[in-house]
Symmetry: C2
Subunit: 201 residues, 2 copies
C-alpha cells in the first residue's frame, strides 16, 4: 500500500460536508477531515492536507475570498465539484488553477479517482464537464459589462452603479444595453437571470 | 432490535445523493436506497420506503411537480433538508405537510434521529429552523404580487405578464409597485433578488 493521502472536505453545509467526508472514507487510503469554508487560518493550519475537495458553489459570488484562501493554502491541489449547468462556476475553478474538476453527477468512484490523481499533481477533468467548460470560455461579456450587471443584480440603480464604477450614467446604460444584447436577453432582469444561472456572477 | 426502516434519499446530484445515502447507512437499522428526483413512477414503485429524505432545493420553482409526486408517494413521511437562510423553502415544505425538517447544518445524528421520528409518524423540526419558518410565514406578498414578480424574474416584460395573467398593464404595474414597497426593495431587480434569495419563488 502507498502512502495515505490527506484529504480535507470543504462545504458550507455541515450535513453535506460530513456526508462527502464519509463517502471518501470508503477508500481506506484516504485520511479525511472536513471543515466549513469560513474556518479561519489558525484552525486550518492544524489541518494540513494533500488535497482539498470543495463544492464550486462555495467559491462563487461574495464567497470569492474563500477561493483565494483555499488556493493560497492548497495551491492547485483542489478538487472542485461542479455541474455542466453552471459553466461560469467551472470556468472560475479552472482559471483559478484547480487541478481537479468532478461532475456532481459522477459516481462515487470518480471522486475518489480524482483525489488520487490530483494528489500526484496531475489534472483530472470529468468528460461531461468539458463541453460546459468550453461554453464558459465563451462568456460574451467584458469585465465592465459583467460588473454593471452584477451591481444591478444586487438592486443598485443606474445612478449608484455609475458612482461606484466612476462612470457616467449614459455609459452605464450603454454597457447594460450591450450586455442585454450579447447574452440574448429580453431585458435587464432577463440578462441578470441568464448570467446568474450560468454562474458567471 | 426493532424493524428496519426503509429510507429513500432523493437528490438532484448523484454524488451528494450517494454521500447522504452512505451517511444514513452508518445506522444499521436503516435500509437505504437513493434515486434521482426525475425518476418516473414505475421505477419508484420498485422502491417502497417508510421515509423519504429530500433536499428542499429539489422541490423549488420549476421542480414543484416533483414535490407533488413525492407527497403523493410518501405522504407526510418526508424529511426535508433545508437552511434558515431560505425561509420560503422551509415554509413550502412545512405547508406541503412534510413531518421532518432538518437543518443542513445539523450534525449527522440529527438526520438519523429525524428519519426514525418521521418513520413513527411523528413531527421532527430542528430548533434552528423554527425562527426561519416563522419568518417564512410572514411572507408579505399576495399570490398575485408574487406571481407578477415571478414572471418578471423569468424575464417577461410588463405586456407579457399582463397577457399571461389576464390583467391590464396598469394593474401589473400596480402589483409590481406594491410588491417592491412591501419587501422593502429599491426597485424591481432588487425585489426579485430579495424574493428569490428567501426562497419564496
Amino acid at each position: 500500500m502507498g502512502e495515505m493521502v490527506r484529504t480535507v472536505v470543504v462545504h458550507d453545509e455541515e450535513l453535506l460536508r460530513s456526508a462527502l467526508a464519509q463517502l471518501l472514507r470508503s477508500d481506506d487510503t484516504l485520511e479525511v477531515s472536513a471543515h466549513s469554508p469560513d474556518t479561519g487560518t489558525p484552525d486550518a493550519e492544524e489541518l494540513p492536507a494533500d488535497v482539498c475537495v470543495v463544492d464550486g458553489e462555495c467559491l462563487q459570488g461574495q464567497d470569492e475570498v474563500r477561493g483565494e484562501r483555499l488556493r493560497g493554502r492548497y495551491g492547485d491541489r483542489l478538487v472542485v465539484l461542479a455541474t455542466a449547468k453552471r459553466p461560469g462556476v467551472l470556468r472560475r475553478a479552472f482559471e483559478g488553477g484547480a487541478l481537479g474538476l468532478v461532475d456532481k453527477n459522477a459516481p462515487t468512484h470518480r471522486l475518489i479517482t480524482a483525489v488520487h490523481t490530483v494528489a500526484k499533481g496531475e489534472r483530472f477533468l470529468d468528460e461531461t464537464l468539458t463541453v460546459a467548460l468550453l461554453k464558459g470560455a465563451e462568456m460574451p461579456l467584458t469585465t465592465r459589462e459583467l460588473g454593471v450587471l452584477s451591481l444591478a443584480s444586487q438592486g443598485a440603480p443606474i445612478a449608484e452603479i455609475a458612482a461606484r464604477l466612476h462612470l457616467s450614467r449614459g455609459t452605464v446604460r450603454n454597457y447594460m444595453a450591450t450586455a442585454i444584447r450579447k447574452v440574448g436577453a429580453r431585458n435587464r432582469v432577463d440578462a441578470i437571470r441568464i448570467v446568474q444561472s450560468a454562474g458567471w456572477t
